[in-house]
């Protein structure tokens, strides 16, 4: 029974990380109908920036949670900036083009960013300091649910709540919803589309960076390639939940996290990624629009 709880909570943690990244994918898709392949790379860059910031801060004498908080803020700022830049270079010029062009551009950008970090930094696995302290009150349940897992789940929950408030109650949120619904109409209503799209990218990238810092702290090492796998899984989660839908992304991510956790726990740990993709294929066969997606009728 304890094993079950361990797997359940582990799945919750995984799902939280996937959710943070999946939100970026789903928001961008909702607004400009583009699979942002470079999003996984932003997550990776967030983790790298945090590592560099954390190392400099530790050497400068800061300690413990201050390092984590500051490194996260710096990583979030930089990831947002990267997201903004990528959008301006690779996606904005292609807004009028067919569906395939931005997709290829996104794949190209993903390859470019991966190799950029590879060349500028290193191909080795860099050790990431464990910035999350072990809490005293968690000691009794450490073997089921570690402190860092608790931090991950709580930070994710807080981020979700903040994001929902942003989307529901602010003007920018309303503008984002309007643009996602009907871009031309939003333009006619006086919404600055470019600004809305840039904001979406920045918010998505920031969330991904938060995820990157947390998971890097949890696992303990980073490498230029982590963006790819995490990106694919998170995108799977977003599609699973119904791409374009924000609650769908969270739901899909949690379902994916739990599936992976239970499958690797009870069946086999080698085929971890296979389970994720198999789940995706099955869901899309039986419910092509995803769990929470709207099944749209297509008109000629």
């Amino acid at each position: 029974m304890e094993y079950f709880f361990e797997l359940f909570l582990g799945g919750l943690t995984r799902g939280s990380i996937y959710a943070l990244i999946a939100l970026g994918y789903t928001m961008v898709y909702g607004i400009i109908e583009l699979i942002n392949f470079a999003h996984g790379e932003i997550y990776m860059i967030g983790a790298f920036t945090a590592l560099i910031a954390a190392s400099l801060l530790t050497m400068a004498g800061f300690k413990g949670l201050a390092v984590l908080a500051l490194a996260m803020v710096i990583a979030v700022i930089y990831a947002g900036a990267y997201g903004y830049t990528v959008e301006k270079i690779a996606y904005q010029p292609l807004r009028q083009a067919s569906r395939l062009s931005p997709l290829i551009s996104a794949i190209g950008m993903s390859i470019f960013l991966q190799n950029y970090v590879l060349l500028a930094q290193t191909s080795d696995f860099l050790p990431f300091p464990s910035l999350i302290p072990q809490f005293g009150f968690m000691k009794s349940v450490e073997h089921i649910f570690s402190s860092s897992e608790l931090v991950i789940v709580s930070v994710t929950t807080v981020s979700m709540i903040l994001l929902t408030c942003l989307i529901k109650f602010t003007r920018m949120g309303k503008a984002m919803r309007a643009t996602a619904q009907d871009r031309k109409m939003a333009m006619l209503a006086g919404i600055n589309i470019n600004r809305v799209i840039s904001t979406t990218f920045v918010i998505g990238s920031s969330l991904a960076a938060v995820g990157g810092v947390l998971i890097a702290s949890h696992i303990g090492q980073i490498n230029f390639y982590i963006g790819f796998t995490a990106g694919i899984k998170a995108f799977t989660a977003a599609v699973l939940g119904g791409i374009g839908s924000i609650p769908g992304a969270v739901l899909g991510a949690l379902v994916l996290g739990w599936t992976e956790s239970f499958a690797t726990g009870y069946i086999s740990s080698d085929y971890e990624d296979v389970f994720a993709f198999l789940l995706l294929v099955l869901i899309l066969i039986f419910r092509p629009e995803g769990l929470l997606g709207k099944s749209s009728t297509h008109k000629v």
């Binding site: 400099l56 551009s105 500028a120 694919i232 799977t236 085929y271 296979v274 000629v300």
Partner: protein
């Protein structure tokens, strides 16, 4: 003046943006920080100059070079008129035939690789270019073909010539297997599921050690025999080269005929508008399955060739990056255009070999060129002009 200010700000932005990753290198084991200020300076100057170039190119794109509709593009002229076409083909064939005599074995090997990618590109062209089905997991069929030959060769000593049609057949079967679940999906969902399939195949090959020998792969795969005689490695390379030329010509011929056939035209209809296509009485499902199956056949065949050529395969050769490269060949060359895909394959494979000096930056340049091509020339090198008929006063 405005341009100068804008470029200055862009340059400063990039210098700050890339500051952590490019300037600082942290060695957490030795607790050392390496500051590379020259990188920042290079970044600043580089982006300043590039921003001017970017602005100029974008302005040119906006102004839009008007295509002169009356004058046929040179390649259309080349192919449609007999008097140009036949000498062209003769010249190309002669060059191809005499090529190995003038160059080293290494270059012949590279040319074989390029030809393999030409056929792969043409195969994917059927799926993406003609039928409009975005397949991001094409490498799975390539892997299936390669492993078919490797395993049959290992367990049952099946020779190359028998394995070639078998590889094609297995490829076709997997194409149908992949096609059936995705029949109802459109656009981006299709792309992701095919991507998932590609990864599933690779992961299974990597982890099911008992079946596929896992990450260490399969070695000592037999080379093709020449009428039953075993041949040396050098002769083998020469033999492969001519075989690939023949297969390349065969593929171009088949794809060309397919394009004009009833099936090919249903694919084009499918690509343009799926619902209208169905309304016209074309069986959508059969057409899609045919596209997947036929596209996968070529990949399966090329998998067998790849296994025979390199004599060693492992799952690491069949990653998503390969699919991305093949997709780039199709898109950058010009979707749906045979000449475009061929040229695209040659450029994408031969150019990195020539620029070996920059080999570190190869992937970086590859990624950047994908983005640049899409921004500035999305229709590819050879834009696919629709078939048009002209009436002349007789």
């Amino acid at each position: 003046m405005k341009d100068l200010k804008q470029s200055f700000f862009i340059s400063v932005w990039f210098m700050l943006l890339t500051f952590p990753i490019m300037v600082i290198r942290v060695n957490t084991i030795e607790k050392v920080v390496q500051w590379r200020w020259t990188n920042m300076a290079a970044m600043g100057i580089g982006t300043f100059i590039l921003s001017y170039l970017w602005r100029y190119m974008l302005a040119r794109k906006e102004a839009g070079a008007q295509e002169n509709g009356d004058v046929l593009p040179w390649h259309q002229k080349l192919f449609s008129e007999r008097k140009y076409f036949i000498p062209f083909v003769a010249a190309v064939l002669t060059f191809a035939a005499l090529f190995p005599l003038f160059v080293s074995e290494y270059r012949v090997n590279i040319m074989i690789t390029a030809m393999i990618y030409v056929v792969l590109g043409l195969g994917l062209n059927i799926v993406v270019g003609l039928a409009g089905l975005l397949d991001l997991g094409y490498v799975a069929f390539y892997a299936v073909g390669a492993y078919t030959y490797a395993l049959l060769n290992y367990h049952f000593h099946v020779g190359f010539w028998l394995a070639l049609p078998l590889g094609a057949l297995v490829g076709a079967v997997f194409g149908i297997l992949l096609g059936i679940p995705v029949l109802r999906l459109r656009g981006d969902y299709l792309a992701i599921v095919t991507l998932g399939f590609g990864e599933i195949i690779r992961l299974i090959l990597e982890n099911w050690g008992a079946f596929s020998f896992g990450p260490s792969g399969i070695a000592n795969i037999s080379r093709p025999t020449f009428f039953g005689m075993m041949i040396t490695r050098s002769q083998g390379i020469l033999f492969m080269y001519y075989l690939m030329i023949a297969l390349g010509i065969f593929t171009i011929f088949v794809v060309n005929r397919l394009q004009d056939s009833r099936l090919g035209r249903s694919w084009l209809a499918l690509r343009e508008d799926e619902i209208a296509c169905q309304a016209m009485g074309i069986d959508r499902m059969k057409t899609k399955l045919a596209a997947f199956a036929l596209g996968a056949t070529w990949a399966g065949m090329m998998g067998v060739i790849f296994a025979a050529k390199t004599s060693f395969i492992n799952p690491a050769s069949f990653t998503f990056l390969e699919s991305a490269i093949i997709l780039s060949i199709v898109v950058l060359g010009g979707m749906g255009s045979i000449l475009g895909v061929t040229l695209g394959a040659f450029i994408l494979i031969l150019l990195p070999e020539e620029l070996r000096a920059f080999s570190q930056y190869r992937m970086l340049i590859f990624g950047a060129s994908m983005v640049l091509m899409m921004v500035f020339r999305p229709q590819g090198i050879i834009s696919n002009v629709r078939r048009s008929y002209e009436y002349h006063e007789s």
